[in-house]
Subunit: 270 residues, 4 copies
């Protein structure tokens, strides 16, 4: 499940999900910039660190192109491991990237060998054997067909990718399902049903998907709520009528774990 800061990450964990998707779209949007590498990679890394500090479940970062070439990827892997991030998904585009769902955007792909080099560099760099490198196939997004997608997935699999994420912006899952049929479980496959959101999850799982990422729904939920609340306060000029739509201050304090600090003060401040 998507999160974009420490708070939403904690909400994901408390809801019971097994892992967190640190979405590039959500993080950039919450910062107030575009999903086009306007925030630097270390600014994103700082958000990641807060997310990691606030939670105990695995975080998979949506790391765009890796923010440069194989050498930037090597540095990134080191920095992610230091911050207890469980894995990294990189996509075969060119820096700076453009969001895959943006209509009319050009999506030039990376050279296969160059991207496979990135995957291999990442795997060679990691020190924690559990760190996970996911290669994200953008061939469908860029207008290519199944054979190009498979060729690329195969190359990245051979380069060491732990899993393949196949992306599609079609409203039906036909592209990703055709991929799953041919891929035949060569390695785990991750799907992101944002565009084809009406397909039952079961259908995707039965087709062979190993992981489903709901990639931006907490952010979108918060935008909807904040716009509604802002409009209401602006028109009513009062806040006493919001109790059924906003969390109490005490719930904010609970999410911040203020009780732990109170206990610690007793122990360390006399």
């Amino acid at each position: 499940m998507e999160a974009h800061n420490g708070l939403s990450a904690k909400i994901v964990q408390e809801a019971g999900f097994q892992g967190i998707w640190a979405s590039s779209l959500s993080i950039s949007a919450s910062l107030g910039v575009r999903d086009s590498n306007e925030a630097s990679w270390t600014q994103t890394l700082e958000i990641l660190e807060f997310m990691s500090d606030a939670t105990d479940i695995p975080i998979l970062i949506d790391a765009d192109t890796g923010y440069g070439n194989f050498n930037n990827v090597r540095r990134l892997v080191k920095k992610l491991e230091q911050r207890d991030i469980a894995g990294m998904c990189i996509e075969e585009k060119q820096f700076p990237k453009t969001n895959s769902l943006l209509e009319g955007a050009k999506q030039p792909l990376a050279d296969i060998d160059e991207f496979a080099g990135k995957v291999k560099a990442a795997k060679d760099t990691q020190r924690d054997e559990n760190f996970c490198v996911v290669a994200r196939i953008e061939a469908f997004i860029a207008g290519y067909g199944l054979s190009e997608a498979l060729k690329r997935a195969e190359a990245y699999h051979l380069a060491g990718a732990d899993a393949i994420l196949v992306h599609s912006k079609e409203k039906t899952p036909h592209q990703v399902i055709s991929f799953l049929e041919e891929w035949r479980d060569t390695s785990p496959v991750i799907l992101v049903p944002t565009a084809y959101n009406t397909t039952p999850t079961d259908t995707l799982i039965k087709a062979g998907a190993d992981v489903i990422i709901w990639a931006n729904h907490l952010l979108r939920s918060s935008v909807f709520a904040m716009q509604k609340t802002a409009a209401k306060i602006y028109s009513d000029q009062r806040v006493d009528n919001l109790d059924s739509e906003i969390a109490p201050v005490a719930e904010i304090f609970r999410l911040q774990d203020v009780n732990e600090l109170k206990q610690a003060e007793k122990q360390y401040l006399k």
Copy 2:
């Protein structure tokens, strides 16, 4: 109206509000840490810069104690002005601070002269004559009465404070209204009706308040919505039934102003 990142700041602006309250509680909570100076002042400053980049209306930062002594305040003012922040509210507590609404927390106040020195240092440092320094009176929060609150407000007013923010955690506005009666418009007064949220805004304005800050309601609204959405997705394992509760992806793109980038690409990329 409160905001805590670039996105919520833009939502505040689009709703029509005249200014943005960069709340310390909200910013710390959204980062996933406590409102006890766990994030460094430059980490907060970076959030502020994103908020400023995303908006055109004035931002008033809830700057806790100024993050140290008068010298830290001087540096802070310079950094805020460089990032086009309109003003700064500092409170008469000791570093690291504790949130004023936290039950049972000790709230030791700063020495009056020391805090007045901070106010004076801030005013002497600013280069933009419109930069605004607000002194936040925590006497009521700390358990003192009206005369202490007035004595402190007077000292900070004389030190150059452009406005006074009087805080109270009572459920009724009696403390702040008694203050307004005695203060008699010596300088502008700001109120934060979080605890006494059922008092009609008109009552506060008629009592002499110049500015009302709704200090954390967008954050609380987003927490409520994200918790609900997370629970629903976790139980239903689907996202197609959320359309009436979440913003479309296209709305996220609009908030990020992707169209400006598309236009600019035509101009600068051939």
Copy 3:
């Protein structure tokens, strides 16, 4: 004159130089990383901000490729202006860049139109009319001849570049002098005599150079001194015999301007 942090920048200013070259090689080396965009652009920006805070003379940043495409350049210009940086030099390479003096390194150039678009985007973004955009010609570095260098310089000049920096790694200045002869003062020209360091400065000025940058000599001087001092302390296991080779602690305090703080404490701390 080159500087790489707040301290060296202040030393440059105190020596009487008219401007500071915030060298990418020096800054990366002082951080301990390679001159290949291993540090993020915001990490470099933070160093720049400290340099700007410590000085009053103009700082020209060696901004590599602009750290991405025209859109990254636009954001960079805004951030530099906010930090009182006087100008930016960008070079026609591809991100991530490689240092121009590195033997045997591939140096693929940017497409002319794409780089001219960056220059134009920078000029359109600046708000301070004095902000300066320098286009750095890497054609000689990449193995091209004079006509390519001139063609590129002309394109960037037409796109709005305030000055041209022509780089060469030859041990004699023949390339840059041939450029100056043909350029005939179309716009100001900047030279960086690191490789052709034995050419008298007068020769370069008479040939038409408008600005000479000594691009890395303070860093190299500090490395030489620190290596010598470290070796001496390690072998002698004493520090009393260093007085003629190290600045007194009092000189460090003076460079930090501790006296201003002492005075301010009298004024603001009672």
Copy 4:
């Protein structure tokens, strides 16, 4: 041996020293600010991370007061361990601190119990059993005598401090030697002979010191060299006569380990 950035840290390691002292004075001075917590703790942390990335030997950070109370110390320890910092020295002053060697500065000490709480909180937070917490006794600096210094050292030792650093600004080591005599090896003792720099190291070791820190000599060496080089270039307007006083560009490249990148390019870029 002191270092203040990635480059000087690598020089310390290459010289053969067993550990690096990340000096607060040196780091602040190199950034161009005062040793009074003008840089935020996360800005210092970023410098530390570059130092750690550039070296393999243990780094002990001069962490001032811990940048706040016990809770700030807890967060600091977590962040230091993530960045592979070997240990932390905190001093019994109040935030923001003042450099101990600054003449005429007030040096109010922390309350003993409060500081002991910080030490205990640090020890309880660390996950790596080798992480080292050093308590720095400032009693002599603040004008107190031996008994106060011993009382404080004892309290911090009981709170779990792995070592004691006794500081003195006297020109002779009489204070620290008197401390060593009474302390009788209760725990390891660290000395910083900046003021009493003429005392032979052997004398300090024989008196019982376990570790000697040369706390600022690389920075002071670099300032001396940069000032001399800057003056010379400014007056001569040439750089060809500096070869015996500056490191070659190739030496900078070597320190940046460009060869490793060249090799890696062969492997990952085809």
